[in-house]
């Protein structure tokens, strides 16, 4: 040092300040407030919340299975995530764009700590998403018809996605100093989302995406889902941390903590990725359990009014609803069918997990009715038709092969007790029609109505219930006799016979 410096300069005391950590938190708070009040983020949240309110009104026809609901919370947070990405990126680029960087560079807080604050400022947005996700899930869970269990790991995906998108925006701002980069990245992400949304088999690589929804498949019991949800959440958390640490590292935060953070979070992401890849392929035990679910599932059985109801344990609360339908249909039937004990068994084809879409084969045993895992809406007249088919034809398989006048009685039993029978008729038919021939859906194989049968059923449904009910009970034996013609059934029930003769249009 030169002679000038040897004079002892007077140290001037500075005001007492706290450590850098608290300042980083203060900056994170500042940035979070700006993020949450920025126009794109506010708009995205408004749309997201409006979607939740609108969607949960009629979702799942009021009978949600919570192991489906948790997955359903994963898509829409992406909208907020994209807005957060764009804003977080512009916040990182702000001081460069406004020419304050040279000034801020002389302030105490180094740029990498500012980047830490930008990353931390994403946390409140993610927490807000978590609240929205919890709200959506709670609203479904409190519906009286809700069954099943949600998975916390699946519910965590929405908030983690928002963190991931935001951290990507911060990282991008540290790599490319252009305001155009983030919008272009968003377009590419939208592309990827649009193309990967195409239905297909989910394999190990598809689990590398932020979320894998698999919404189109059947509703399965929780333990047959076979989704590596927990590992995926771990993988996502690892990726989020890795991106965040990488952004801090690129901003010049070359401390041991940051370096260790990059390595550890990368290890976390890789671990999660590998384990979820392992979990994406169904294990032999899971495959065996899925096959059992179709042939001899482990069900809990209870008695209601002489009938037996067997359901997967998670669906037990729904047995009363089924029993009400069975009672309604049975009370309309005549002869022995009026008192006949039925066995309602829940079955689902889980062989291919959520990717499968195979119909459940009809039961061949007498008095056995199959019920699926979904309820509400069209599923009610479908189940009702299956019950009526068993009462009229003896078994589900026989009901599927019906092609004579018994179909009239069957459909009348199935529909007449419902609130709006004509509407139920259209909903239970594949083409939503109330005239002409059509396929009638049931939990197992579909049935067929000819044009003439449809006309007769429609006329019957237009008449008052008690009168027809008495006729059905009075002529039950003849009406359920194999080979009875539609014209004869119409005559017995007191409506005009169809113009065309019976013909099963198989």
């Amino acid at each position: 040092m030169s002679a000038v410096l040897e004079e002892t300069p007077v140290p001037v005391s500075a005001p007492v300040r706290d450590g850098g950590t608290r300042a980083v938190l203060a900056l994170a708070r500042f940035e979070a407030r700006r993020l949450l009040t920025s126009v794109p983020v506010v708009l995205a949240f408004a749309v997201y919340v409006a979607w939740i309110v609108w969607h949960t009104q009629n979702s799942w026809d009021g009978y949600p299975a919570l192991q489906d609901v948790d997955r359903e919370t994963q898509t829409m947070p992406t909208l907020v995530g994209l807005a957060v990405l764009v804003y977080a990126n512009s916040a990182v680029l702000r001081s460069g764009r406004r020419g304050t960087e040279s000034h801020f560079a002389t302030l105490v807080m180094p740029p990498w700590r500012r980047t830490v604050a930008h990353v931390l400022s994403l946390v409140p947005a993610a927490l807000l998403i978590a609240v929205c996700v919890a709200g959506q899930f709670a609203r479904e869970a409190f519906k009286p018809g809700a069954v099943g269990h949600g998975s916390p790991a699946e519910l965590a995906v929405g908030p983690l996605c928002v963190l991931l998108f935001g951290a990507a925006g911060v990282l991008l701002g540290r790599v490319v100093r252009s305001a155009l980069a983030a919008p272009l990245l968003v377009v590419l992400l939208l592309f990827t989302a649009a193309f990967s949304a195409a239905p297909g088999v989910t394999d190990a690589t598809s689990w590398l995406a932020p979320f894998v929804v698999e919404q189109s498949g059947p509703t399965l019991p929780s333990d047959l889902l076979g989704r590596p949800a927990a590992w995926h959440a771990l993988y996502l958390a690892g990726v989020v941390l890795c991106v965040a640490f990488a952004a801090v590292l690129l901003a010049g935060g070359r401390t041991m903590t940051v370096r260790a953070g990059v390595v550890l979070s990368l290890a976390l992401a890789v671990t999660g990725g590998v384990l979820q890849a392992g979990g994406a392929e169904a294990s032999p035990e899971l495959t065996a359990a899925r096959e059992r679910a179709l042939v001899r599932p482990e069900l809990t059985c209870v008695q209601r009014d002489g009938s037996t109801y067997c359901a997967f344990p998670e669906w037990e609360p729904r047995i009363d609803t089924w029993a009400r339908t069975v009672d309604e249909v049975r009370s309309l039937a005549g002869g022995s069918a009026h008192e006949r004990p039925l066995v309602v068994r829940q079955r689902v084809d889980a062989t291919f997990g959520l990717a499968g879409d195979a119909a459940v084969p009809p039961s061949t045993e007498a008095d056995r009715v199959t019920v699926g895992t979904v309820w509400g809406g069209n599923r009610v007249p479908e189940f009702s038709s299956a019950v009526a088919a068993v009462l009229v034809a003896g078994s589900e398989e026989a009901g599927g092969e019906l092609c004579d006048g018994r179909m009239v009685t069957l459909m009348w039993l199935s529909l007449s007790w419902q609130d709006d029978p004509m509407n139920a008729l259209s909903r239970v038919r594949l083409d939503d029609s109330v005239a002409g021939s059509a396929t009638v859906l049931s939990p197992t194989n579909p049935m067929t109505m000819t044009e003439g049968q449809t006309d007769v059923v429609r006329h019957l449904l237009e008449k008052p219930l008690p009168g027809t009910g008495d006729r059905v009970k009075a002529h039950w034996a003849e009406l359920t006799e194999p080979g009875v013609t539609t014209a004869r059934a119409a005559e017995l029930l007191g409506v005009a016979a169809p113009e065309k003769a019976d013909s099963c249009e198989r």
Binding site: M1, S2, A3, V4, L5, E7, T8, P9, V10, P11, V12, S13, A14, P15, R17, D18, G19, G20, R22, A23, L25, A26, L27, R29, F30, R94, S95, R98, G99, T100, E101, S102, H103, F104, A105, T106, L107, V108, M109, R114
Partner: protein, 286 residues
Amino acid sequence: MPPTVSASGLSLHYGRTRALDDVSLRLAPGVTGLLGPNGAGKTTLLRVLATAVPPDRGAFTALGHDPGTPQGRQEVRRRLGYLPQTPGFHPDFTAFEFVDYVAILKELADRGDRHREVRRVLEEVGLGDVRGRRIRKLSGGMRQRVALAAALVGDPGFLVLDEPTVGLDPEQRMRFRELIAGAGEGRTVLLSTHQTEDVAMLCHRVIVMAEGAVRFDGTPAELTARATGRVWSSTERDPGAKAGWRTGTGSFRNVGDPPAGADLVDPTLEDGYLLALDGIGTEVTA
């Protein structure tokens, strides 16, 4: 008074351009003025002293710390207030938010204390009433005061102000002088300016720079004294004068080496400044 900032042998090159050439100086509490033509290296010197750029050679200490080490630089930055020549603004921020933002970057972490401090400095620069207004809605003079508030926040011991009075009207400039004079009480203030009146009115010391080097270092009176006997008035522009211009009274005021029998007049600080730049191809205007 013992120095709070001492620099020795500061040199900085931008490619082949020598922006700073072996600059040594010592600053004590109070306002020190830094004069010099455009391109003299004033801004570079201020940027070095504000720890924005490290010097190629030489060293300095500020407030007892050596910015040559990472730890020392942090310590200096904790006690530093800097007003850059072209301060950027975030137009979407309110005046309060902007100063608050800078205060956070100065690591004033406690929210309540920080907000009190931000309100205090905004009050001090006379922006208390408009602190909730967005910067895009503020006039140029108000923006300049926001920048000064940002420099003052956190009660720094060492203030580096790069041409803070540029673009201000006379009344605003007066107000600014008051602020800077107030800030100079107990603090070390280095003020770069083109306005010799600023220096004459505010500074207890003045440094004149040209071509990256210090040409004069002393009190304003000493700088003025340099021109004693070297300013004269005449009816025609004196061809031997280093600078000359027609004054409002019609006569010419000449600076330089006077001819024998010249009508000598009292010098001003500006005359001393012009003479300190002697030999440098500067444009002299008045």
